[in-house]
């Protein structure tokens, strides 16, 4: 097991660094737009079933470094299996923003024609999927990796869960099997300190899930401080190893849940709220790049404007798309 502190990340290419930043901005812009639209029509009394976006909404703000750092090494031919909190990964992996937004708004033009919803995004174009069941996204990633290998390609699968999920049986079974069969999988744990209201200390018997890699004889690495460049570096090693046929790796990133577990979560249980704003990775990384001379006001404005344009186009597309016909409610059970 290795612990990588931010300082040790190797010097990166300027373009890569700006791309990491741009990706993070795009994700945040999307999540802020959802935040706005999710709550817009749920006032004055908050009713989870009401509004243009009903149901549970798990936003990923704060966790952009994981998505940006990992997905930078992937093409859309590689697979990702994500969790109930999937948007950052979907976006960084290149999912069509319009189809994503339309699914979240429950429209016929959505990825799943409005059947799936935000926890059930299935995109054949980017080999992306997610699941609302904790840790149960890990096993299917093995099968994608297995198929890729059998097809003779060097495509890989990335499987992501939260730190809370790492105590679920599927986590253990999937890593053992992937290690045993040397499948090209990169296992990622997003440690945002919380599993809903349960702090990591009340769920996990060891300080780092990277330690657990030893239980499977695979490399394990923990990235502290939500450091996107360190994530990028670690993911680069893990992806290369997987593509080379050397088997899986485990990467845990100490990241940040900037907002509630889901929208509507008052976070009364949360003891670490005070420090949260200072830990927001977006201004932090922006500052780093400004200090390195890679960003200035103008570039930042341009990146933000581009992200805003893309996101608003996607949301407009979603909102102007038709809702599914209730008469088709029983369709698509079988092929």
């Amino acid at each position: 097991m290795t612990v990588t502190a931010p300082g040790t990340a190797s010097r990166l290419d300027a373009a890569v660094r700006r791309d990491l930043y741009s990706q993070m901005v795009l994700i945040r812009t999307f999540e802020e737009a959802l935040l706005r639209d999710y709550h817009a029509d749920k006032k004055p009394v908050w009713d989870i079933a009401a509004g243009l976006i009903p149901g549970e909404m798990h936003l990923s703000a704060g966790q952009e470094p994981v998505a940006a750092g990992v997905c930078a090494h992937l093409s859309t031919a590689d697979a990702i299996t994500a969790t109930h909190r999937p948007h950052h990964l979907a976006i960084a992996h290149g999912m069509d923003l319009g189809a994503l937004a339309a699914e979240i708004f429950g429209r016929e033009t959505g990825l799943g024609r409005g059947r799936g919803g935000h926890m059930h995004l299935f995109d054949p174009a980017t080999h992306f999927s997610c699941s609302g069941i904790i840790a149960e996204g890990y096993p299917p990633a093995l099968g994608q990796a297995f198929a890729f290998t059998r097809q003779g390609s060097d495509r890989i699968a990335v499987a992501v869960t939260g730190e809370g999920a790492a105590n679920q049986g599927a986590f253990h079974e999937a890593i053992n099997l992937a290690a045993l069969w040397k499948l090209p999988v990169v296992f990622v744990v997003e440690d945002n300190d919380w599993g809903i209201s349960v702090p990591r200390s009340a769920s996990t018997s060891v300080p780092s899930n990277a330690t657990r890699a030893a239980a499977y004889g695979i490399p394990g690495e923990r990235i502290e401080d939500n450091a996107v460049e360190a994530v990028y570096a670690a993911a680069g090693r893990a992806v290369a190893r997987a593509r080379a046929g050397e088997g899986p790796s485990l990467i845990e990133v100490h990241t940040l849940r900037l907002w509630g577990h889901f929208e509507g979560d008052a976070q009364g249980y949360r003891t670490d709220l005070d420090g949260v704003p200072d830990r927001d990775p977006l201004p932090t990384y922006e500052l780093t790049l400004r200090e390195a001379g890679l960003l200035d006001d103008e570039r930042v404005a341009a990146i933000r404007a581009e992200a805003a344009a893309k996101v608003e186009a996607a949301i407009d597309f979603a909102k102007s798309s038709p809702v599914p016909d209730p008469a088709s409610a029983t369709s698509y059970v079988f092929a």
Partner: protein, 349 residues
Amino acid sequence: MTATTSDTLTVQAPGRRLTTAKAMVEGISQEMEADPTVFYLGEDVGAYGGIFSSTTGLLERFGPKRVIDTPISETAFIGLAIGAAVEGMRPIAELMFVDFFGVCFDQIYNHMAKIHFESGGNVKVPMVLTTAVGGGYSDAAQHSQCLWATFAHMPGMKVVVPSTPYDAKGLMISAIRDDNPVVYMFHKGVMGLPWMTKSQRTNDVVPEDPYEVPIGKARLARAGKDVTVVTLSLSVHDALDVADRLGAEGVLDAEVIDLRSLVPLDREAILTSVARTGRLVIVDEDYQSFGLSGEVVATVTDHDPSMLRAPAIRVAVPDVPIPYAHGLEEAVLPGPARIEAALRKVTGA
């Protein structure tokens, strides 16, 4: 036996009102007070108070040794509850959503439910498994199911499904005191949560003292003569709303039976009512095929097919996963529109 009417009367009397969630918590709380072997464990049941307020205030009152947040390890902590029950404690374990039963069902149906039998009656497993069920708020295919028939199909566990604050408290107390494993399935929509209120009846009169609602007796929620509606959980309220309206309009007079439990199933209450009305509608938020609705129909016709003057109608989820989009979900759930159509059709009204 005939469904009891007493509780309908009770809830119409004046008195202190509680939401279903608070009534459930009061039941737990009074039993924890009375019996030190009772404890509650599950995900987010401590400081959060339960995602659907099933444990609000318990941590503050009983402390972290008796109201215990667990890791997301359902197999481990439900198994822990089983072992503790075997050794004489009375655990209550919460499976946050019933939809998650697939990660831990082995402990539930191969262990919790079978140990008493396999031991020839020598080992008891007096525990309660609480779990949230149901949809209607766009939580999609993995967070909206009822699945009570799946639990009820497996022998060895009782399965209760309160629909009112009164029953929520009384059934909880009965469940905790029961020497058998009891699965206590609360629909999110009956909890009386401000952010998911599906019926005014989810805030109602609840006696302050502890009391039991016997497990296995259905409740006559509305007396009527034209058709029997057999239902449970949130659908009781939809059925009552429709029945009251159609009754007031003089269209038809429906009898509504709230099953309250699937195991035991009060077959006598169903038979007694259908013997009078000759017509049957089942309203069931679980999947239609191979489940509760067929069992209720068969209960009647196994006795005497000629009791049914018209084919029974099953208003259930038509064997489709619960869709996310609001309009699609509404189309598959057994809401008021589908209930009304069924009542009119079966009575020819």
